[in-house]
């Protein structure tokens, strides 16, 4: 038997000047199930709350309706208040008679009638409310950071510094990502390796960080606070515990393959470190190219290795499970394959047309040319260099529709580096727009122009060879003239796109991606470092093109979110989630694809079904940790076997019915 108390708030005169609150209370008292009704000046005030608590005690009320301001305003206030009483805090409904009544209608009958209707709906609903308990889920105090670029490194260090355990997982043999490939960073021109390698060393030395390189995520189960991640450690074939990193094996290895790190500008052995300052500073064997692993003939590295048993050709990939409370995705970007997109730029058949990252290796002091800019075709120093921006960016037909954000700045940086290193060099930068919205960015661009870089406004139409060199043909749209620039080297500042495999990885965690494949943030403005999946965060260029400062800022932001989560021992979950009546569920699975959080799974159970005593049937299950309570699933269920607690079908329908009772 419900004993409902209705409390009508004047809100000073905010409500009472429009709505006849006395009449509302009077009418409420007549409603079915209501055993007490009252009005008061300020329900949310201390005395107002006390009045409600007293009434509960005095009249033995077991459900409460408060007619006041929007539930978005004080629902939590009154729930907290109810915690002091014997009534479950979810046996409360709020009738919004301020924002949606008193404030939008003139004083009089109509407003009062509406208020009474709203109270009637709330009374009807509260009669059907059921006590709900938010559950506490324990939190595994360990974070997983996927991707060991600068975003992952920064996030891992921040979390570890806050005292939480972190696993940093990287699929390459070394962490460092794209940033260690760069020579200098704009706008300060400090050496990229000089600022990133110390951080890499910090990672390897930090007591709270476990570094897993050459490893991948194979599978993911669970939900916020309780992820179980299957990690696949690829065989390194070099015992990392006893290897001294002496490098003899690398010198002696007879097999040479193109170096990915140096963008094809040099070779590397099959047993290799990604680059000299790699972390960990120990080699791995690339099984795709190793002669011993491919056809069993060679074994030189084992012979020359001074440490007994360090090289193990029999090593196998290992998969194991590890539990985490939170995850940061920091999978980064890669440059588009421009050769496959732009026939007019030679489709990759001119060796002296290179992309920006290749140029970084070319100009890098620790790169294959030791920082001397030499063109790939013949090793000559280029005198005239053309830089082409927006290759693959801002091109919905052949490339990507978006702006890749960092290219304007690194184009300026490249121009600066060329002018700095090559005496008498001439640099032409073809651009559509110059975008420099960052601290000290415009100043840097300005300086580059003063240094002598010639900015030509226009997109290069084609690049061809005239037998001696390359000709870049385009329009100088400011001169309104066609121009042909004969260049020794052409640098294409190509678009960024999501890294290889980022899509599959995002899918494993249940997060979604936007039309361009970037990981979708939960809200573009207000939740920029969260994915839609609780407990899964993102950092860096996996969310969209970014430069280093933005990436690091985002990494620290994601880390802060993770720290906030891991600082709790347990997490309270909203009890207003979907629930399944298994006896009604026919297992049709219509609800399953609708859930954006993959909270619904189909399971096979055994039960007695008529004459079948041990019948196998399928039912849907809701994972309380994943469900966010949107209720979209409930509509798909024809029997109503899946229902939303707090907004059950019966509760909403009774509100509808109440209006015309």
């Amino acid at each position: 038997m419900s004993k409902i108390g209705v409390f009508v708030c004047h809100c000073g005169t905010n409500i009472s000047s429009v709505v006849d609150v006395y009449k509302v209370a009077e009418a409420a008292a007549q409603m079915p199930g209501v055993s007490y009704a009252a009005e008061y000046k300020y329900m949310c005030s201390e005395p107002g709350q006390q009045m409600i608590l007293d009434a509960i005690k005095e009249h033995g009320l077991n459900r409460i309706v408060i007619a006041a301001c929007s539930p978005r305003m004080h629902e939590t206030t009154f729930r907290k208040m109810l915690k002091k009483s014997k009534i479950n805090e979810y046996l409360l409904e709020i009738a919004n008679i301020r924002e949606q009544d008193a404030w939008v209608h003139p004083p009089g009958e109509e407003a009062t009638e509406k208020a009474i209707d709203l109270v009637r709906m709330a009374v009807a609903k509260v009669a059907k409310n059921e006590p709900l308990k938010s559950s506490l889920i324990p939190i595994t105090k360990k974070a997983l950071v996927v991707g060991g670029g600068i975003a992952g490194i920064q996030a891992a260090l921040d979390i570890a510094d806050a005292g939480h355990e972190v696993v940093l997982l990287e699929r390459e043999p070394s962490i460092g990502g794209r940033m260690v490939m760069l020579d200098k960073t704009f706008p300060t021109l400090d050496c990229s390796a000089c600022i990133s390698t110390p951080k890499m060393v910090d990672v390897s030395a930090h007591p709270n960080i476990k570094l897993l390189t050459y490893a991948e995520v194979a599978a993911v189960k669970g939900y916020i606070g309780n992820f179980t991640v299957t990690i696949r450690q690829k065989a390194k074939y070099v015992n990392q515990d006893i290897c001294t990193g002496c490098g003899i094996c690398e010198d002696k290895c007879p097999k040479k393959v193109t170096s990915e790190f140096n963008k094809g500008l040099s070779d590397r052995p099959a047993i290799y470190k990604l680059f000299p300052q790699a972390v960990p500073a120990k080699p791995v064997i690339d099984r795709e190219t190793c002669l011993m692993l491919q056809n069993g003939k060679c074994g030189i590295c084992a012979k020359v290795c001074p440490v007994e048993g360090c090289i193990d050709y029999e090593a196998k990939d290992v998969e194991y499970d590890e539990d985490f409370g939170a995850v940061i995705l920091a999978t980064g970007y890669k440059l588009v394959d421009w050769g496959g997109m732009y026939d007019e730029y030679g489709a990759g058949r001119y060796p002296d047309v290179i992309d920006g990252l290749t140029f970084e290796r070319l100009v890098n002091a620790s790169g294959p040319t030791e920082g001397h800019i030499q063109r790939p075709s013949d090793g000559k120093e280029p005198k005239t260099v053309v830089i082409v921006k927006c290759v693959g960016s801002r091109d919905p037909k052949k490339g990507k529709p978006y702006c890749s954000r960092a290219c304007c700045m690194y184009a300026a940086k490249h121009a600066h580096q060329i002018l700095d290193k090559i005496h008498g060099a001439r640099v032409f930068i073809f651009y559509i727009d110059v975008r420099t919205p960052g601290k000290n960015y415009e100043e840097f661009y300005d300086q580059t122009r003063k240094d002598g870089a010639v900015y030509v406004r226009g997109r290069v139409s084609r690049i061809y060879s005239d037998g001696e060199g390359l000709v870049c043909q385009g329009e100088d749209t400011l001169l309104n003239k066609q121009v042909r620039v004969k260049a020794d080297l052409v640098v294409l500042e190509t678009a960024m796109e999501p890294n290889e495999g980022a899509g599959e990885l995002t899918g494993l965690f249940g997060a979604s991606r936007d039309v361009n494949g970037w990981i979708q943030e939960a809200h573009p403005k207000l939740r920029p470092v969260e994915t839609q999946v609780g407990g899964v965060f993102l950092a860096g260029a996996c969310q969209g093109p970014k430069d280093i400062p933005d990436t690091v800022a985002q990494a620290s932001a994601a880390a802060a979110k993770v720290i906030g989560l891991l600082n709790q021992d347990e997490m309270e979950t909203s009890p207003m989630i979907a629930a399944i009546d298994e006896s009604k569920c026919s297992g049709c699975g219509a609800c399953e694809p609708i859930c954006p959080y993959r909270a619904i799974t189909l399971e096979t159970i055994r039960s007695r079904e008529g004459r079948f005593t041990n019948a196998e049937r399928v039912i849907a299950k809701v994972n309380a940790g994943l469900c966010q309570g949107c209720g979209a699933c409930t509509v798909a269920c024809r029997t109503g076997a899946i229902d939303l607690l707090g907004f059950r079908n019966a509760q909403i329908l009774t509100e509808v019915d109440a209006l015309w009772q």
Binding site: E344, R459, G474, E475, D476
Partner: protein, 186 residues
Amino acid sequence: MTDQETLQELMDKADVRQYDCYQCGKCSGGCPMADAMDLKPRGVMRCAQVGSLNRILNSNTIWLCTGCYACVDRCPHDVNVPALIEEARYEAARRGIWRRDSEVLNKVFVANLKMFGRNHEMVLAGLYNVLALKPAQDAQSVPHMMSKKLIGIRPHSIKENGELAKLIERAESWDKLASAPQEVKK
């Protein structure tokens, strides 16, 4: 109809939307005729954007475009500039705005077809050079071609050239023909 409306109609016919173009200049950059054009392909789009139909119609661009489609091919937004140029050229012709040399050549060419059904080089080049007041154009090649009998006085006429002339007249007056009452198409 205002110029603005006419321009919009030309754009619709050409299936070109002015806002698709963001003036990157890749079209003009690759246009083989750009050096000679007073309004390069990007300029045509710019005029379309600001609604300057007159500048398009009075440009030599609409007569010089060779229709090689390099601009469309490279355009990041797939803007079909030649289609717009073609529609603009028809509009210019409707208004009697001609580039003299083009008018002479094209009209001589069609007259040539009406006579013979096929192109007669001697007639074409001869008439054009006379009417366009360029008697010496390509004259240096004539002795070689005459001597090798590559070109000559004898026309290569088709049998049904009378029929063809009528066909050409029907095509030239199609606008009138199409607006006249027609029997219902099946």
